[in-house]
Amino acid sequence: MLKLTINGHPVAVEPGKTVLDACRAAEAYVPTLCDDPTLDPYGACRLCIVKVEGLRGMPSACTTPAADGMKVTTEDAELQDVRRWTMQLLLADHPLDCLTCAQSGNCGLQTAAQHLGIRERVLRPMMREAKIDDSNPCYAIDMRKCILCGLCVRACAEVQHLGAIELVKRGYASAVEPFGGGPIIDSTCESCGECVERCPTGALTARTQLPPQKEVSTVCPYCGTGCRILLGTRGDTVVSARGDRDAPVSRGRLCVKGRFGSYEFVSSPDRLKTPLIRTADGFREASWEEALGVIARELKKYRGDTFGGLASAKVTNEDNYVFQKFVRAAMGTNNVDHCARLCHSSTVAGLALSFGSGAMTNPSDDLLLADVILVTGSNTTENHPIIGLKIRDAVERGARLVLFDPRRIQLAEIATVWARQKPGTDVAWINGLMHVILREGLANREFIKTRTEGFEAVEKVVAWYTPERVAQITGVPAKLIVEAARLYASAERASIVYSMGITQHTTGVDNVRSLANLAMLTGQIGRPGTGVNPLRGQNNVQGACDMGALPDVYTGYQKVADSGARAKFAKAWGVELSDKPGLTVTQMLPEAIDGKIKALYIMGENPVLSDADLTHVVKALESLEFLVVQDIFLTETAKLAHVVLPATSYAERDGCYTNTERRVQLTQPVVAAPGQARRDWEILCEVATALGYPMHYASTAAVNEEMRAVTPSYAGTSYARLGAGEQLHWPCPSEEHPGTPILHREKFTRGLGQFHPVEYRPAAEETDASFPVVLTTGRMLEQYHTGTMSRRSKGLHGLAPGPFVEVNGDDAKRIRVKDGDSVRVTSRRGSIILPAKVGSRVDAGVLFIPFHFWEAAANVLTNSAYDPTARIPEFKVCAVRLERAPEAAASLSEST
């Protein structure tokens, strides 16, 4: 520790800290405008000048390293005089409209001026030309108020690694501008708002936020990264959101969805506030008593395997625990599933077979330790933006990125190798990589011998997959296969990151097992900076799986077919349990059409838009005798229900979420629930009780207690520990256990890692003369899933207002369409009309459509053919036809 004296008071700071840090440690206020602890020191504003005994002049505290024995003065007449003149120069071209400025009360310039006792502007005002950039719907830019501190420019470069804006020109003409000086919306800006959060003045302000009275930290409701947001409130309205810098996963960083799209939907007037009961001509409002009465009366008829329940990856662990308990104990069936079926069921199945545990093996911060990162089937910077930033951080530090993706996603720009495989050919290139690794002697024979089994079969299979043959199948040049293999295998630490580009195939489990083979072949697993890392799509999809919202397992993946596990749960729940694994969501819906499933209870899901072949999904839901939907909005699915129940949003409930890294995070309610909305688990308890299976819990914590008592991997994750700020990754079998950030360290969960030979199989639907183009679907940065939450944000809506299809320039030319023209995309299941986005993001012969938009729902087209093991539909490949739409196409969407 370095010992300094600040204004006569002793203070100690760690080496590497600055004089400014020491001043703050001594609680001496030093005015600053350009300092931010997350950015490198800059020394632009010249307000943090101090005097240091023995040093000449007045050095800026933020750029002067603290040294042992320094005697620092932060304030005297001379320092204040210099500061006052610096402030006067800043004020000379700054509007004094504080009363009507959005930043008032939170303005760094205002605070410093107050501190220095400035009461008037003494220099002749030299106002800058009004340059208001209104192009970004999330934030406003008023360059008259810019003080050129550089915080925004540095945040964009250092935090977001974008460099979308820069200080240009010099002298009076200096300004912050995007490349070319045009509107910000046309730049590479990702609207993350890191600049807005740091701007000390009103130059950059969030459009839909107000200064809050109080802030509460909670977990972001969007992807599975698990960033924490500080939601600001006024009474029961959420008015602002910013990153929580104490959060271990995100360290204060947020993406555009977390920062600008996480609060408007909470206080939307469209929120469900009372139970609704279907009538001949729509819905009528009902009391809880009446609604529960109807549900109890109806559901009594469907006890057993004619009933099914869909849990939710959006609600807490406690809600999901109670849901699956309700289905299993009160309704007497294992027909419980949720949307993880549609995203990562191949991972849960595949990695469990290979390693014994179907989850991300390493924490996301491990990416910073990797020398090589292999990303495939994950548009990380758009769909898990904060993990995407960690990849950018790693590349900035010298890690090399190997990317296999059919689309030219942003990561392609920073990849050392980018290979554009044909959709649905993943097993082939992964086998190709293994072929090269074995041929060139890069395999880790020691690891294979001591840690794994079944290697010989894989060796035999991959022998056929020479780079040349793989090139034939995948379209990736042989030399790239070789280079990717060498990079991955010869790295000291290499990490695999994948997502739905791998899992959403009829070969989803094969794809996952191939990646597991690759990691075991090279021993790139079980150590920091390595691993096989599936990125989970929703904020609690990991937790919903862990809680047993799956048809074949109870909590913690204890199998329903296992008599020991069944007996344990039967005893805990005081009821006989079915030993028959239930149906998946992809089976329940077809069986509904066949009349085998007669009633469904859906909590917080919107399968009408999210599931493959949605015409078929609607038909299935309409065939049901009874459908209950519990949600926060009247979604496309809820509109088909007989009874709709109003639930709480993430901002109104307490409980735990488990993020993609298996980290359990506790949250508190931020605001009160609207109207009569209730917590999901409370509703379920009432329904179960009305059905004659009493469920009562005093609190969410009591649910958690019961869950942990029957779930060994969660046993040690108590509210007391989580509330004290402990960071616990399951498995955490006892209160003393520190949690397990890295899986499979000494041995695999199943003992030896299981190699599994996989042959390449083509996608279920191949292109032919009538459907010659491959369609792949996915998400985009500015929207989320079926848009129920994100499309209610003005900012997100402004950035991404509607559907589009990415078309390669060559294909566009062939059918004579320009960027923005309407095209018709037709598959064997349906047809939609939407505008084309022409470019080179997709290759010729490939189309991409995001599935967020009901107006042109991508899932009208997708194929519901599914993986034989995981039963995940093939969202990523189907054969379609692309045509120019008739100019007078009146309706945006229609079915054939």
Binding site: H161, A412, A844
Partner: protein, 200 residues
């Protein structure tokens, strides 16, 4: 040990204008809206001549301006890609220096001296006339691309004040009539067109 491969490679057919890039070298400067062939020609040589480090920023900018007459956006994008930087960052550096131009210069360049001697002998009025005639501000180019108007603080030939420089040729003691003649010569579209034809 296998040789470590650091070269940036990709199987993508066409490139998109680069947004960012923390690393990477070589590679082509692909773009959706076909990039300026002159830039492509210059960059093909420049990328081998300059090392991909930030210290190459200004030499590369100078090289581009020498070859192209100004710094088109495609050139800045190409430099950024070569240096593993963002285009906005390279533009930020370039815009700091008066020596770099960002707009295509006119076929003719008129520079009016605004130094003290020239000013008192009517240089200011000459400039006002030119702005009115050409309908452009100093530093700008006429819409037809014929003339770029510039001012200079002192040309250093005060004895000949007021000075107007046309395409590098210094004209001393210029009055309104002489100026008109000069501009007429420079801006005559007939003449320019004829020359173009002859060159085609």
């Amino acid at each position: 040990m296998k040789k470590k491969l650091v070269k940036r490679v990709s199987s993508g057919k066409t490139g998109r204008a680069l947004n960012t890039g923390s690393q990477g070298n070589g590679g082509s400067v692909g773009s959706e809206s076909r990039i300026d062939p002159a830039v492509e020609k210059w960059f093909a040589e420049a990328k081998t001549e300059f090392s991909p480090s930030r210290s190459s920023t200004i030499p590369m900018l100078q090289s581009a301006q020498t070859a192209l007459g100004y710094l088109p956006r495609d050139a800045i994008r190409a430099i950024a890609r070569h240096l593993g930087s963002a285009p906005a960052v390279v533009e930020g550096v370039a815009s700091f220096y008066a020596q770099f131009r960002f707009e295509k210069p006119g076929r003719h360049r008129i520079t009016v001296c605004g130094g003290t001697a020239c000013y008192v002998r009517g240089g200011g009025k000459l400039m006002d006339d030119l702005q009115a005639d050409l309908k452009i501000a100093p530093g700008k180019t006429t819409a037809d691309g014929a003339v770029t108007l510039e001012s200079v603080a002192c040309f250093g030939a005060c004895a000949l004040a007021p000075i107007v420089v046309l395409d590098g040729k210094v004209n001393g003691r210029v009055n309104s009539a002489a100026l008109r003649a000069l501009v007429g010569a420079a801006g005559k579209p007939v003449r320019t067109a004829r020359r173009k034809k002859a060159g085609a």
